[in-house]
Amino acid sequence: MHDETDKRAKRDQPGTISGRTARPDGLDGFADKLRKVRVEAGLKAETPDPHATGPNGQADDVDDAPRQNSFGMAMRLSTDLVAAVLVGGFIGWMLDDWLGTKPVLLLIFFPLGVAAGIVNVFRTANRMNQQSEAANSDAADDGSDNRS
């Protein structure tokens, strides 16, 4: 009689341990799934996530924005340059016409237009670089996310 009750008590002890560790696994997996869906839907995760995608989950909407090819870039840069030169020349010409200083102001404003054009080109190129860098870093982020 003594031995039997002892044995039963001993058998129950390990059973409780294994039972407790086995069950919550399913719920934890569900929590991960929920978090993932939330990120995909562009919603902020209610519970902080150790492997969150980025500062904000919505910013990658423009990810699929077209990336300009080099021809398009060249077109853009040249229009930026030419437009400023045209504007500079036009201002000089108009002022000359108005003030009767025929070639002087045109000669002053034409180089200024060229300078403005170069400024334009510089800015546009800068912006393009930033864009492509952002795109690259985005791609890198995506890669690391997939790996983890």
């Binding site: 009689m1 003594h2 039963r8 569900f30």
Partner: protein, 163 residues
Amino acid sequence: MPQLEFGDFAPQLIWLAITFILLYIAMSRVALPRIGHVLEERRTKIADDLDSADRLKREAEEALTAYEAALAQARADAHAIAAQTRDKLAAESAKERSTLEEKLEAQLAEAEARIAVVRDEAMNNVRTVAADVTAELVTKLTGQAADQAAIDTAVADALSSRS
């Protein structure tokens, strides 16, 4: 180049203004609010669904915790009952054993007492018999009655040296 026909500028500009303004009104008043509303609705719906999923998950966890608590409680109760039973049984059997032992002890003592009495009796008998036999033997051998006192002393000596 047809693009530089200045006479064509006015009609293009006028119709551009008309169509663009109408399109802007249609977009800003009808289309965009409608699409925005739909997207917003879907977003809140998804958020709500996720929230309720979260809530259900939390409830499931609570239920699990409660279940585990109940299980642990039941297990503890079972242990207590088992231990209690075990103790009770042990106490009972110990009591039984001690009464049994007491009884046996008493019987043993009784038996020993009886044996002692019997032995004493037997010893007395032996002494009488030995004295009688000795007296008889002495009478037969010597042809005269023996001294009763001497015989008693001799028998007592022999018996005490033996036992």
